[in-house]
Assembly symmetry: D2
Homo-oligomer: 381 residues x 4
Amino acid sequence: MAALGENAPGLGIGMVGYAFMGRAHSHAWRSVGPFFDPPLRPEMTALAGRNAAKVQGAARELGWASTETDWKALLRRDDIGLIDICTPGDGHAEIAIAALDAGKHVLCEKPLANSVAEAEAMVAAADRARERGVRSMVAFNYRRVPAIALARRLVAEGRLGTIRHVRAQYLQDWLADPGAPWTWRMDKERAGSGALGDIAAHIIDTTQFVTGQQITDVSALLRTFVHERPHDGGTRPVTVDDAALFIGRTSGGATASFEATRFATGRKNSLRIELNGSQGSLAFDLESLNELWFHDAAEDSLTGGFRRILVTEAEHPYMAAWWPPGHIIGYEHTFTHEIADLLTAIAGGTDPSPSFADGLQVQRVLAAVAESAETGTWRTT
Amino acid sequence: MAALGENAPGLGIGMVGYAFMGRAHSHAWRSVGPFFDPPLRPEMTALAGRNAAKVQGAARELGWASTETDWKALLRRDDIGLIDICTPGDGHAEIAIAALDAGKHVLCEKPLANSVAEAEAMVAAADRARERGVRSMVAFNYRRVPAIALARRLVAEGRLGTIRHVRAQYLQDWLADPGAPWTWRMDKERAGSGALGDIAAHIIDTTQFVTGQQITDVSALLRTFVHERPHDGGTRPVTVDDAALFIGRTSGGATASFEATRFATGRKNSLRIELNGSQGSLAFDLESLNELWFHDAAEDSLTGGFRRILVTEAEHPYMAAWWPPGHIIGYEHTFTHEIADLLTAIAGGTDPSPSFADGLQVQRVLAAVAESAETGTWRTT
Amino acid sequence: MAALGENAPGLGIGMVGYAFMGRAHSHAWRSVGPFFDPPLRPEMTALAGRNAAKVQGAARELGWASTETDWKALLRRDDIGLIDICTPGDGHAEIAIAALDAGKHVLCEKPLANSVAEAEAMVAAADRARERGVRSMVAFNYRRVPAIALARRLVAEGRLGTIRHVRAQYLQDWLADPGAPWTWRMDKERAGSGALGDIAAHIIDTTQFVTGQQITDVSALLRTFVHERPHDGGTRPVTVDDAALFIGRTSGGATASFEATRFATGRKNSLRIELNGSQGSLAFDLESLNELWFHDAAEDSLTGGFRRILVTEAEHPYMAAWWPPGHIIGYEHTFTHEIADLLTAIAGGTDPSPSFADGLQVQRVLAAVAESAETGTWRTT
Amino acid sequence: MAALGENAPGLGIGMVGYAFMGRAHSHAWRSVGPFFDPPLRPEMTALAGRNAAKVQGAARELGWASTETDWKALLRRDDIGLIDICTPGDGHAEIAIAALDAGKHVLCEKPLANSVAEAEAMVAAADRARERGVRSMVAFNYRRVPAIALARRLVAEGRLGTIRHVRAQYLQDWLADPGAPWTWRMDKERAGSGALGDIAAHIIDTTQFVTGQQITDVSALLRTFVHERPHDGGTRPVTVDDAALFIGRTSGGATASFEATRFATGRKNSLRIELNGSQGSLAFDLESLNELWFHDAAEDSLTGGFRRILVTEAEHPYMAAWWPPGHIIGYEHTFTHEIADLLTAIAGGTDPSPSFADGLQVQRVLAAVAESAETGTWRTT
């Protein structure tokens, strides 16, 4: 019988929040070691939440070694080097700025903030922190879908030529039923916006990442179909959008057509992207996240067509760490990839990506969309 | 050996134009009898075109019994009861109005005209003619795709509930190559507009037909990517749009998101429609025109999902006339269906659909889109 | 007004039978001229059927100029040069042999005959006729699906390398309901066999055509699930197979796995073929007959994948005659292609393909399958 | 700061082997707690492997607390209650029997053994152990794909009626290249067989599980395409099959058509199953493991069709433990599900499933297939 040690230096993690995102991040912190052998060994040191009993139960379930009922306590602990923020958007700015200023690296869930002003303050904090070697990252996890990372690589290599059209939809249906209960995600104060910040933010970031371009101006439409929802025996007003649509232009001269909704009956988590370029096209749907469809205009017309690339080969981004070809991965793997890249950047003394500045830029697009919808005019971002 | 007669009364057809649309219509005039046994027996009496040699060759190839080099000659012939207009859009108004005023029924290709004013004059002529029992129809053939007709029926029966989202794209790629030659379709004078009138018109009419709603206001973007194209050894300017995008609202309170382009590399004829309603959703792609995807929200969550309806059953619209289940039909069948319905309406003394008024309404949407794109403001239709 | 002539010499057609196949052939005879401009101009001269009233009605509907109540009368008519046999299989041999011996070209529906002996006699007649310039063809129409013709071309060009696996299914469901009525297709005397001769024959011929190989030995299983079916107020015994399965070997060293059934609930006309070769693979499904899926092993592993080739380009077999790219065709077009090739072969004095000898070889595979199933042993073909 | 305990009693795990399967099992042992909160808390106590340095490295990477270089040492340790066997098939019988006789629960990878005789001895050991409350399970993990578990439920509820056809393929291509190197999986001594035991075993077990029926007799074909493969600078003979095909009958009267191959170029991990029953059909492909296609014959013919069920709802088997609807899972989750069920069964004092007896039955089918292929005759299982 032989006991074991580990070689990589440790990094204590303190996580704030333990709902949907907290569960996903916990799994990633747990899994990154065995699959990616990162240069820093994450230690699941502490979980913070207001309710002592609940946070202890969550920590036990999710594998955190200790708990705090005040997130500020995490910043004072020497055994914690990174704060992972998994709270609703209205808490991001305060926690992230305090953590960075306390010298803790920060991983912050998306959208970066609930307003451009908050996001700007966060970028300033990140800039200050960077000078001291303290790193920050906003968790747009879909950049780490292997098919999306491959799409980025193909675009960057020029396989699509000049991009003419960017087309993206994020379709869900969990609010299509007017009887679906009110949650904080329907409250403008907590969530900032509805489908816009929650899911349109994903397609904005993901398409900007893949194309390497920014959305520069937009004409938008926001809709709320159901204005009150059941809550605590009564109802409570819905103060956010149920659906967000816009058309626009990108910095590289492409058209943009975007739609995000929680009312697309039968579509559960259909984040679809299609890019058409002068030399080729790409299509993707998150419900089939292991597949990327690619059309190469250089193919002869006899055998040309969209190829279903099953993105499970060892050559594909992140996939060498997982299973043999054809063995698919799931949603939560994107967080493991994200954290592997984050740990590698911290250990290497480089800035992880997407940065808070990237998060701010998305925030500006969200703001332009909201203003365009409100005013009925085109807005630049 | 027994010789044969036919019972149904005959109707002489005079067709103007014999390019792509003329070939498709000719096949339909030829096929409608054997498959639909219509109450009027169409006779392919005369084909009109300016070039005597060419029109005679075309008539021989396509099965027309005689030719004229002036379409006005068709209006003077007693053996012709219906004029089928297959010319570019700039000729529609003059021919249609003259034919209707001459007492000939008219089938006119889409878009109805190149301007709202022309279309209004055509509707006035159609109204005058109707009083004398003379009928008119605009050839939005995709209404007669069986899957689209089925979609209309499902919506009309309330299977989708309240429609929340209308999403439509018409993606082609035949102009993605900057070296593709100039044709009349790139000339604003002849064609009226580019992708807008040619293919956006189809998705506008088809979605309005299926939903039973009209697009009421729009914010649009038109783009021309390639401004000169090869012609006659030199180049010639492209004066129409290569792509047209808009968002909007419908009369029933749904959002609308539309895009039409000839630059979607790898997409050959992908007219896609998706409708999301409170009780269900529908999806369609013309490249798989025998399929309709339907999600019924009433299904239990254990087995619910989008169904691929193979629209080839005898119960499906138009399909009893064709082959056993599972034997698919193609693009040109839509014209045969259209003509079968037209002949039935004429024989029955009723107005065929879509009417010139329907064509005018589409024209108004096209005009609103063009104006919105030009001015950067929202426009009502 | 100008009257028209035609240049190509005419060929009078006499067709026997006017059910499903007769309707499909009639449409093809009508359509081949306008779309393919064949070197012989077919004239729809006479239709033969036993019931005078019915055959006259059919001729009127389908466009035949005259009728006969005895097919032998067709052979005596000078205005008829080709006999098109669309009867059940038990009539093929007698009619085809008589027609060929009478100097008429013959197009015969598949399967060629109900027994190997009949098929051998038909081949002998075809051999005799060929010496006099009289041509014969068996109507395995799926060879003329453009995607199948393209598949043949890719295999012949070596794009698949050595073929390792041939996998084919023909799945229908029209007999899954035990209450579906008895027809002649369930009678061994008339039909020869059930799913075996009706639909397995198609996948046998099609895969042999595409691979250029023959099935050399088989181990088979035939099943009849429903032994009596409603007929004329009572029931009548089903004396043929409902499903036919076999494994086997091909002349080129591939394995073969075949299944044909009319009990595949929900599958309407799903003829599926997949070939796996050392250099690539192909997949096809008749329910999506305009698509061919192709995997080229030479693609780099980063972007390799099965391509959906939309077989609607002018470069694709037969497609230049039809519509612009992306405009799909349907089931009946295969017959038009078949007849275009037949007319070209007759005019050119060459043998059309598939020949009666090809039909006989398929018959031998069918016989081997039936014997293997009966004896529970492997059989060579 | 609060420290945490756990309530469920612990169960020490000793795992033998740490290659592909060992990595997958380790991840499952690590993940089962947070997601399924099982009644026994697994402790990753010890990993056994012959090479001390390698096993220590693996243990460190995969999260095992200690190592042994002799698996027998695991049986002597009091802190280990369950042996997880992840070795090649030739080691299964000895380890499993010794472990069960030593009073350790056993989870054994599939196929259960390399021969029927070994499997019989293992079942005898499992029977002896059961009397002492010691449990055993064979790791056919695909039973725990949620879509497969849902398929089982639909069949058990009678949604398919009488099953007529079972059709299954397991297509991979990692040996299609003759230059792919020799491994122990090509050695009959180590692996027992090739595609047959490795992947055909999966489709045999999975279809038998879903249908609740057994394969009763078979006619089979085994093929080896490449007889020598590169190894250690030279070559080494391949003594197993590259592909296995068979047709057969099931205990419930259905036909069976099976094919497993490692030569299906372009197919990476395509385990496909289709069942056709009198009342409905199901189709599945492991490359899209979150989807089940279901056709219900009770649907009206107007809207009937195969539904794509995205098996990600909380109501679906195992899915309540994971993410919101539409967020897909991957291959390795099947092992977590398997272990969750195993721990529940052990804690509840019931027999987990599939049992060693189930594994023996699959072994008998594999033996019948091998004998049928060798003798060219039908064999019963």
